[in-house]
Every structure is written in C-alpha cells, then in structure tokens.
C-alpha cells in the first residue's frame, strides 16, 4: 500500500504546484490572456502533464484558483453568526492586506467575469448573491437582538458592507493609504448600537478587533484537494477566445 499512497501524495503535490503557477499566470495576464501552456512552463511540465491533473483545462484551473480563495474565507466564517460573523469579515479584510497578489488576481478575474460569456461569470454572480444573503442574515440576527441602529435595513447594510470591502481593495491596490480592516470595522460599527471592537469585552480586555477575531471559535472545514475542481467536470471552454488564436498587433 506504500506505493499507491506515495503516488497519491505526489499527485496532490503536483496539483498544488500547478495551482500556484495558475495563480501567478492568471494574476499577471488575466484568464483571457493566459494559456495552459504558459502555466505548464512555470512548473516545468508539458501541457499534457497539466491536463492529466486538471482534465478540464484552463476552466478547471480557473475554478480551482477561485475556490481555493473561497475556502480561506469559509474557514474564517465557519460557525459564526451575527456580530461574530461580521467580526469575521473584518478578519478576512485584515488577511487580504497581506495577500496583494491574491486580491489583484481576484479583481482581474471578477472584472473579466462580468462578461456573461466568461466561464467565471456564473461563479461570480452566484458568489455575490450567496455572500450578500449571508451578510444580510448576520445583520438580521443582530436586529432581532435589538443591536442595529434604528432605521438601518439589514439588506442595505449588507450591500454597503460588501461594496465597501470591494471598493477599499481597489483603492488599496492603487496605492491609497487605506487600512482596509479598520475601515470595514468602522463602517460595520456605524450600523450597530455597540461598536464591533467591544464585542468580546465581556470575555476579556480585548478591544483590538484582531484579538476579537482570534478569540472567536472557528470550525475548520477545508476540503481535500481533489474536491477543489469537482464542480467543473464536464465544462468545456464555453466559447471564450484563446489568446493564441488571435493575430498579433
């Protein structure tokens, strides 16, 4: 049994290497401007070798890169509700501030993905809808406990929170002096009867939002690597023009 296990581990490592290369190449050239060949070169493999690990090709790689980012956020938010959930959003913003490359990649893919013909279009539409519902639910739970400022609508507060998160990333990437986590926390606190930073005050002296986030219980829910590309089986390139097929300028 040592043989197959060794093969499995080696294959998982290869997948991880390919995924990291896809991340680098997509961040630099976007999805439309990237090729599987270019990603293969980054890891010293052939195109056929990459397709052995990601049979769905470029779309499978795109999906896997997007989902690996989502899993990071899901880890932070798992098991949280109400104020705890919102503190998790602040925590995610703080982590984004340490992952410029990933934020940049996400911005390029999300912008390309607004084209209905882009293979990530449905993914982004579904993702924004799902996140909006989750954040709305958090504000609704707080409202049920009387924790929302009078006149604040949970749905609108959710839109404002998500818009600020997306927009602050853009300003930050463009060199403005922005502390994304602090700004998001301030914005969320404006909707609440008690600032988010005082959330954990009953269990200790923590008023630093990062400490609050660290104290919150987090249930890890990361999926095994093989699950990452599970949703793209059967998808083809759905008509997106390949850069190599285009004539030079």
């Amino acid at each position: 049994m040592a043989g197959p296990r060794g093969e499995y581990r080696k294959s998982a490592e290869r997948r991880a290497q390919i995924l990291e290369a896809a991340h680098v190449v997509f961040a630099r050239s976007g999805y439309t401007g990237s090729s599987v060949n270019e990603i293969a070169r980054q890891v010293g493999m052939t195109q056929t070798g990459v397709l052995h690990h990601f049979a769905g090709g470029k779309v499978a790689l795109l999906r896997a890169v997007l989902e690996s980012r989502d899993h990071g956020a899901e880890d932070v938010l798992a098991g949280r509700t109400g104020r705890d959930f919102l503190a998790g959003l602040v925590e995610i913003s703080r982590r984004q501030g340490e992952q410029r490359g990933m934020v940049q990649l996400y911005k390029v893919l999300a912008a390309e993905g607004t084209d209905p013909d882009h293979p990530a279009h449905d993914y982004f539409v579904e993702r924004f809808s799902r996140i909006t519902q989750a954040v709305t639910a958090a504000y609704q739970a707080i409202a049920a406990d009387g924790g929302l400022v009078d006149g604040v609508d949970p749905g609108r507060a959710a839109i404002d929170t998500l818009a600020a998160t997306e927009g602050l990333e853009v300003l930050w990437l463009n060199g403005l002096d922005v502390d994304m986590a602090a700004d998001i926390e301030r914005l969320i606190s404006g909707f609440l009867t008690a600032p988010l930073g005082q959330h954990a005050a009953t269990s200790g002296p923590a008023t630093d939002p990062s400490q609050v986030a660290d104290q919150a219980p987090v249930t890890r829910s990361r999926q095994p690597p093989d699950h990452v590309s599970g949703r793209v089986d059967g998808n083809s390139d759905s008509g997106v023009p390949q850069s190599g097929a285009r004539a030079g300028p």
Copy 2:
C-alpha cells in the same frame, strides 16, 4: 481651404470610430488580451491605417479610451464645490447605470492596471489620488460651513465615498439589485447635517437628486479630439506581452 478642412473632419471621424472599436475590444478581452490588429478589423482598416491615427499604438488607444471616460466625469464636476460637487458624484453614478459596457471596461483595465508593469498603472494611481483629493476638498468645504456631522473626518469620508462607488459598480455588474446613485446619495447624506437631496430646496421644489444635479451650473470643458492622445506621445508598449506572441493552450 475646403480640402484640408474636409481631410481634418474625415480624420477626426476615423479617430472616433477607432476609439469606439478600441472600447469594444478592450471591454471584451482586456488590454493585455487585445491587439491593434483586432481593433483595426472592427473598423475595416489595416493595422497601419490605425497606427496612422494613433502613432503610439495600443498604449495610445488605451490612454485615449480612459481619457474619454474622464472627460465625461469632468464635464459633470466642472465648476462645482462642496455639496454641489458631491451631488455631481451622484449624477455620475446615475450615468454609469446607463453605461454598463463602459463600467465593465473600466473595471477590467483598472484591475489589470494594479500590476506595476501595466502601461495604465501610473494613470490609475494618479487618477485615484487626484479624485480622493478632490472629494476630500469637497467635504472640507462643507465642514468649514458646519455642514458635516460631528466626528466625520473629510479624508475618511472621501475614502468611504470612493470605495462605495467602486464597490457598488462591482455588485451591480454581478447582477445584484443595486441602485448605485441612490446608495451613493444615502451614504454621502449620512456624513452631512442635511441630506444631499434637500440641497436645492431653497431655489425650488427639487428634492429629486437628479433635478439637483441638473440645476447645478456646469462649465463644459471637453478638449478637442486631437488632445485626447496628447499625453502618450513617445510612449512605447513598455514590455507588456502581446497575446499573439503567446502559445495557445
């Protein structure tokens, strides 16, 4: 003299056609994934023909497309200060809601442009810095008249306003039920002692923000077409890989 004038008019029309085609192609494939050849085909010209009108090539076309958008915003904001200026931002958001293609293009270019090697990087960094200063100045002018809510910092209010504008565009492009202009107006009004919509109430019955914006004096400052690409003279393609030079997937 009729000859040269006719030539000039014809040339200006050609430039406008090329610019429109560049807009369509960039919106679909981003800057990195587009080629001058593709833009030329859209208008039924040769690549050499396009380069006759835009000697700087793809970078010149990129710059011209970005600046044509900026001129629209400058037209709205020209001559405005304080609350009038902020009402102009709401008006711009309202116009964006009617220009999905332009907003989408801008998002793709701004995302690509966060890469320091991208030819539009300096443009976006400078643009965000300049706009932040202008919005901060508007809030400062209102603060000087006692029109800001206690505790609101003009610089932070400007960052929040711009982040919301950028972020709401992302949510809107991804299919969420967002009224960008109404949301921006509500956010700005939250910083003010009197809501933005009541701004023009002293000069008439207008409480509709669109009417407020329409009443404000606007000095048109659009530049002649030849000026559009004036700042790109001497720029070359600055090392951005051409899609045609890349191998297929």
